[in-house]
Subunit: 345 residues, 4 copies
């Protein structure tokens, strides 16, 4: 059994982690910490877990928690994981961090968008934890930067096209739509029911900080510097991200050959499904699951390839992917504890 | 492995059955039938199941399906299961019927509310499939009348109070609220998005046909004839039923003793959770699970006991309970294949 | 033109007041105050009003605002209006208060549920501002306690039955369902999108402070002391209250005679509509309007009369009713500026 | 008073027409027809209008209805208005058609996407009824092709940019999101509550028939042939369209100069509001109103101008615009009967 400690367990990604880990056949949760709720029964805070998880929230005593754990999941806000990683690797344990702290190859990019980084232990071997793209690098890693929700949907949608050179690398436009749980569990005007219901809006237009994360990975896939226009939107639903991606198909390719390439690229992947001709993904069909559904269309009269990808932002976009990364780190089949379909309708 | 055939598999209770059965460790699904979609890949109709279930919908050939199955689930509309039951028991197989056809002890009550019943095979041993109440009777049954969604929430909410004589049997009022998936998968004005969203209404006031079903079971529990006032409401959400039940506490009992009795009554039940003082159930905390959450309050200034129970109408209120019944019929632990918590948030 | 000042204008009832008053043909808004947003363009805070209302939020200078106004609307939280009323009546102006501060005939009841009351100016002539019930008293009043949203729906639903002695006064049960805007504009866990969406729950069970307000008015109507069991629920919608009321019809009355009495009772009322046989109100049909729809049913097998009433909690349940009261105070037709139907669908 | 007849009055655009026209100070509704509901009280079908509109639905007798009307609104499906227009102009009356039948300058484009057109009376003088663009042409028209909902949001969003040459005409990408009422009042799987709620999807990808309508008007504005990539999405809300438009800003312009040009372009328009720096429209802020809100952003690192426009699909996207067109045809101020703000929240 893998001994797991969860730090910052009482946000939405935290409770989703607990939902998955509590039934994972190879996991024992040894501690969950919460600044706000130390001492409380976790299942009093989250009654959905009554009968499934019976630990209490603890105050965070980092050293102690690391000691009794094989792997730490951190669901703290951005900026807390660097120091934590130093302590974890010093004890030869592993860290899976759900914040942005370890997502960037180039620390100066991180610092520009998120703030200063303390000095890091040399023994940290970080990886961007999108297993479908960086599976090999996961083997030797001890720190995983779990991807952002928008980037996950976008990178999976574009990976075959960029890696296999199907599209021109310029002018990619990404129009993403997210459910409100992505805004987190802390009450603000932005995530109030009466503000979000019966409304859709764009936000962070032309300056959302998932843009550099997306560009880093797309550039890696393309082997050249990629710039994208990325616009996120807030949709009146709890879960789900749909990314509609517009790009220019290179001459010589057809929608049929594109679809074939996508299917081959993802043929060994348990979680990624490439839909058929005329089928387009709905976020509902991924609700509560670790799956990513991808649809493809070609607009003949403008030459645009349109790629649409759907995930559950809290599962494949956060906690499910984190568990997938853990499985990979510990040599388990990636779908262990994650092989459940979406809830429909 | 239990060989399972599903008839009428393409409504909402049908697809929920498939979601659960496809991952049930002791089940092999041998056939799914659909009048409307014979020949179609099931996972093209329901892409949420892509990768989890790969049968095609078949036309219904009853004899053949019964032959290759150990148990038949029928999710057909009311009125189709009587004849089917005759054929199933003739072949010494079992039937779990999700319609109202086998819910009534007294056929004349069924006929009054639903229509005529053909003559039934003597070998049919039917049971009202609420395992928490009729577990013993399930052992010898070959036909299960799977309870209605509203009745499930109401009966579980009132069972300890009536069985243990905590409340007066007269004047019980039941105000129930349901999500729209209870109205089914066939398009009508009543279940259109724009009609249901941002609205709540009562329907079937003073004449909903779940009333006699509720009264039958409450009378059984009380050992005397019970009449109730039952009003269902349609709420803008996909899943969930909340029943708020008003009754008169007998002298000599307190809210503390009531809560204790409830906890003892359900102490061995995996799926029923009695909440603590000041805690009231939310349907969200049962979303996608087979759980029933029950909250209790006492209104001192009027002497009313208020019982609130929450379920997912498609799981404990339909398909999950059907699988729980199957587990019971075949001697498996009741939670086999059903031990997953709700999706939150 | 009536000169109007609005205090606490930036909550949901405040912005709804502005929406209505900004187009009222006999009103000039002379000032809007906000503690949090002083100095801001109102229509930058609430872009729905761009082009319709172009004042800035001011800091509250009570004396000055009263001086330039004929009537003050206060949408401040409970506990601020007593002192304000003293100042308003000293200047011979009028106050319409949307909090609970002036809803109670008996100040000791207010103090039990809400807290201490300062000494009040003798010149205050308060009235409970439900015009359909207290129209005559409005004529001489200078301070209006605008009713709560739940009480409005309940009192209008029960008024004809109690006033005309159609029902037994004991054992009335009120099961109310409200949209989330009733929880206000201040962010808390309770009104977060991801907490409210796809869920229904009861709250304040057996102890909601609208209970004494309801009982005061029902007792007035019945001419005897009335106690009720009242349970509010939170429903995933922005606006709307539906109250389902259960009571015992007295011998000698039928559903037909009840309906006739209701129609006669409300025959002169612009805003109250009594629906026909088999018709039940939907909150959607009152959305954004000052209307109240009432449906009636009789459950023959239990003798219960079921009354269902629907309003928009922010209009008839708050700001629309406040304007109706203003119209009445100033001798205008009550529907002035309020004669718009609901937005459907 | 303008005498108005409404044909096909019982769909969602029909009932929205009635809501607006019933309170229009210069209109008398002389007849409403419905194939499905002839003989029914309109306000029994749509109780939101109880007390506001008391006609019965009639069977359609075209000649008679035209005779007693000054103007006919047709809310019939596509393909019925050509013949109707012949009859209307023969009687020297006017027609405002809410279908696609009169939206196209080039009938062959209509026929390619919608089907054959009968021969048309020479006296028909049609205009594309977007008053902000074709106001002058409205003066002499007797038949108005009321624009589609998506095209309205897109054309208003792009008009200043194309007319004033701020952007390159190639490579425009339009990502639109619509509420479910746009799918109409006839029940299908696509507009069921349980299918739409908690989900977002694209549809009609690369082949939606609003594309040629959009391209016709954008080409008119640009003075050159414009091709666009247009993708509509279905969002879980009842009303509202948000269009996010991506295009390339020409050298020499800045976001400041763009915003200024937009403000000047729309400076005389009552219904179009250009938001400030960093402000982006929410559909909620146009809910129930005839307004269009436009936000602008410039993505420096890719050179893209991002234009976001929001409308209510049933008002500015359909029935409100139809009334605006009527006002224009009859020489009334365009905002007559339409000067109400959105309902918020």
């Amino acid at each position: 059994m893998i001994k797991v400690g969860v730090i910052g367990a009482t946000g939405y990604t935290g409770v989703e982690l607990i939902r998955i880990l509590a039934r994972h056949p190879e996991v024992e949760i040894v501690g969950v910490t919460s600044n706000n709720y130390a001492g409380a029964e976790y299942s009093d805070l989250y009654p959905s877990l009554k009968g499934y998880f019976d630990l209490k929230c603890e105050e965070l005593h980092t050293e102690e928690l690391i000691k009794k754990s094989d792997v730490i999941f951190s669901a703290l806000p951005n900026g807390h994981a660097h120091q934590l990683a130093n302590e974890v690797v010093a004890k030869h344990k592993k860290l899976i961090d759900l914040s942005a702290d370890f997502r960037f190859d180039d620390l100066s990019v991180y610092e520009k968008w998120y703030g200063p980084v303390p000095s890091l232990d040399d023994r940290i071997k970080r990886v961007y934890g999108l297993p479908e793209i960086h599976r090999l690098d996961l083997k030797g890693a001890n720190v995983v930067g779990n991807p952002g929700c928008y980037p996950t949907s976008v990178i999976l949608g574009l990976a075959p096209a960029l890696r296999c050179g199907l599209i021109k690398p310029e002018g990619i436009i990404i129009d993403s739509k997210s459910g409100v749980s992505g805004a987190g569990h802390s009450p603000t005007l932005n995530n109030l029911y009466a503000e979000c219901n019966e409304s859709i809006k764009a936000y962070g237009v032309a300056r959302h900080r998932h843009t550099p994360e997306i560009e880093q990975e797309l550039s890696y896939l393309a082997g050249s510097d990629i710039k994208v226009t990325f616009t996120p939107h807030l949709v009146p639903m709890t879960r789900g991200i749909l990314s509609t991606i517009y790009c220019d198909l290179k001459d010589g390719f057809t929608i049929q050959s594109v679809r074939e390439t996508y299917r081959e690229f993802y043929s060994k992947e348990f979680f990624v499904k490439v839909l058929g001709d005329g089928q387009y993904p709905r976020t509902k069909d991924t609700y509560g699951s670790n799956n990513c559904h991808i649809g493809l269309a070609y607009d003949e009269h403008t030459g645009k390839l349109i790629i649409i990808s759907a995930i559950d932002n809290l599962v494949k976009g956060a906690s499910g992917q984190a568990v997938q990364n853990m499985n990979s780190l510990f040599g388990l089949p990636e779908d262990t504890g994650l092989d459940f379909p979406a809830i429909y309708p």
